[in-house]
């Protein structure tokens, strides 16, 4: 069964169309990167999935309508929307006790084990913690909950690279398994591309790419071409062309690898380059 099943999902705010009849499905056991420029509709899509906004079209999350069956859904779904949302006045110990008392799937022992690896002390108030420690605390809370779906919306915004790396390492090593599904949005795509299993690119409220990472590496090829062969390369209709140290880098979608290898050195493109290429192509 799909964890998320969306069909013609739409949402408009006044005249602005935030989501334009998108359809996608996310099976269990995946880590999906939802990537798009600012204002593309990522957050709106996540809000709809989390039951924080109503919508048009069909959307089922774990078989439930997220907007009307939100209270039930939240038993099995966790989210971290931004590092700054933990209440600043609360003491860490009180926050944990509260979560434990309202969440049937919260595992206190697991939380204690996770938080012991950090500097966070139970008597500290959230406002006394550094940004990185707040993120660690939030992640520890969420990881101690045996949820089926975890939604991360820019979870590492404003953190330094050490915290960011540790954040995703912990997530991958101590949390993720075949039963769980993670959706993550971030602008630092290159940092998470190695943990993703699937990619969804979204722009102007529409999905422009929905593929597994395996499909991505099969479909897309990057070729390094000397200026002399650039015209031949352009004839093969690349998605995108850019100049790096005097060489042309072309990005192709579904073009035969052997043909491309004749033009120059071929590579599997990074998600960030792919993102820029597909976005600019659609914009053109």
């Amino acid at each position: 069964m799909s964890v998320i099943q969306a069909h013609n999902l739409s949402k408009r705010y006044g005249a602005k169309i935030a989501l334009d009849q998108i359809s996608f499905s996310v099976p269990a056991g995946r880590i999906v990167g939802l990537i798009g420029p600012n204002g593309a509709g990522k957050t709106t899509a996540l809000k709809a999935v989390l039951g924080l906004t109503d919508f048009l079209g069909e959307l089922k999350v774990l078989g439930l309508n997220p907007y009307t069956q939100r209270d039930e859904l939240m038993q099995s779904v966790c989210f971290i929307a931004d590092v700054a949302i933990l209440p600043r006045w609360i003491r860490v110990g009180d926050l944990v006790a509260f979560t434990q008392s309202v969440h049937p799937k919260f595992d206190r022992a697991r939380f204690d084990a996770l938080i012991a690896q950090t500097e966070v002390k139970p008597l500290a108030r959230v406002r006394e913690l550094s940004k990185g420690m707040v993120a660690q605390l939030h992640l520890s809370l969420v990881m101690a909950i045996d949820a089926k779906l975890l939604v991360l919306d820019e979870p590492t915004l404003g953190l330094d690279i050490i915290y960011r790396k540790r954040f995703y390492d912990t997530l991958l090593n101590d949390y993720f398994d075949q039963e769980k599904t993670i959706i993550v949005t971030t602008h630092q795509v290159e940092e998470i591309q190695h943990i993703l299993t699937d990619l969804i690119f979204i722009q102007h409220g529409r999905i422009i790419l929905d593929a597994s990472m395996d499909q991505v590496s099969e479909r897309f090829t990057e070729v390094l071409v000397t200026p002399a062969r650039a015209d031949a390369a352009r004839a093969l209709k690349p998605l995108n062309e850019r100049l790096v140290f005097g060489k042309h880098v072309f990005l192709y979608d579904s073009v035969d690898r052997q043909t491309l290898a004749a033009l120059g050195e071929i590579n599997v493109p990074g998600v960030a380059d792919l993102f820029v290429a597909t976005m600019s192509e659609k914009a053109a």
Binding site: T43, D71, M74, P87, R91, H138
Partner: protein, 321 residues
């Protein structure tokens, strides 16, 4: 409603200063003031004074020391009542600002997103806040009041013992100093119903306002009341003039809890009833008067409607994300 207890605990943790410390600090300050007054007064009684008044007092006391205890007891009752009024007024101010922030502050600092990421319904969260404002806060104020009154009584008893050598009359026939306490306790559940429209309205403003919940809470009712007063709207609807003002005033100042504003009205009755033996039959009368008021029940109904609307708005709120 299984999450109600943790939610109430959370509200208490967040507002410990206002809910717990404020009424007890107010009570402590009042008790200290009383002690200062007692010390001045007692030293005046004990010292040989050259004034005529002092002489007369001293003479009266020396000849009738048994009059001191009843007199002190009555004075302490008045003090205790004033303490109840002031502590309840302090509590009302705390509750006012608590309500205004209750559904606004966590939207402003976006922590609502964390709370809403837990399996807790919006109705549960809002109802826990209503209970905190309407019941928990005045219940704590009640405990603070009783503690203050007991402290006052002890201080008074020491003075009486030192000046007259006896406590006879301080613990009157039926412990009359604390008779107001029972009345206060009976008033608590009625207070919940009475204050529901005010709490509901303030929380509705708190849930609705994008900024400045204070203005949203205060200006519309004030505006309507002023318009009514100027244009005689309610009189043209064959109701008494200034009905809106009257309704608001009644709601704020006729709270069944001993408040500063209705002290004058209650004080007469209460002080009279503090005479040993006279209290018991009257204790439920005040409660019955309230329970027979249609406005108590209509107000509670309006309060419930405001609260339901506030829950709806919180459910719909998405500007925080």
């Amino acid at each position: 409603m299984k999450n109600l207890l943790p939610l109430l605990k959370r509200e208490f943790q967040e507002h410990r200063g206002g809910l717990l410390l404020t009424p007890f600090i107010a009570g402590a300050v009042l008790a200290v003031l009383l002690v200062l007054g007692l010390v001045t007064g007692a030293s005046g009684l004990l010292k040989v004074q050259s004034t005529i008044g002092g002489e007369i007092t001293r003479y009266a006391i020396q000849n009738n020391p048994e009059l001191i205890a009843p007199a002190a007891s009555k004075a302490l009752q008045a003090f205790g009542l004033a303490a109840a009024a002031i502590i309840n007024l302090t509590c009302a101010i705390v509750v006012f600002f608590y309500c205004l922030g209750s559904l606004y502050d966590d939207r402003k600092d976006r922590s609502i997103l964390f709370w809403r990421s837990l399996p807790v319904s919006d109705a549960e969260s809002v109802i826990a806040k209503v209970i905190t404002a309407a019941l928990v806060a005045p219940a704590i104020a009640f405990v603070a009041t009783v503690a203050t009154q007991m402290l006052m009584w002890l201080c008074g008893a020491v003075v009486v013992l030192v000046t007259s050598g006896s406590l006879k009359g301080m613990l009157g026939g039926n412990f009359s100093f604390f008779s107001g306490t029972v009345q206060h306790l009976i008033a608590l559940p009625i207070h919940v119903l009475w204050v529901l429209p005010v709490v509901g309205w303030l929380m509705l403003a708190s849930a609705f306002a994008k900024t400045k919940p204070f203005l949203w809470a205060v200006l519309p009712p004030l505006g309507i009341a002023i318009a009514d007063s100027w244009f005689d709207v309610t009189r043209n609807l064959s109701m008494p003039s200034n009905t809106v003002f009257r309704l608001i005033g009644e709601r704020l100042f006729d709270d069944p809890l001993p408040m500063a504003a209705n002290l004058s009205r209650d004080a007469v009755g209460l002080i009279g009833s503090l005479v040993p033996g006279a209290v018991a039959p009257g204790i439920f009368d005040e409660a019955l008067v309230y329970l027979k008021m249609p406005s108590l029940w209509l107000g509670a109904l309006a309060g419930a409607a405001f609260i339901a609307f506030a829950i709806f708005l919180r459910r719909k709120s998405e500007e925080a994300y």
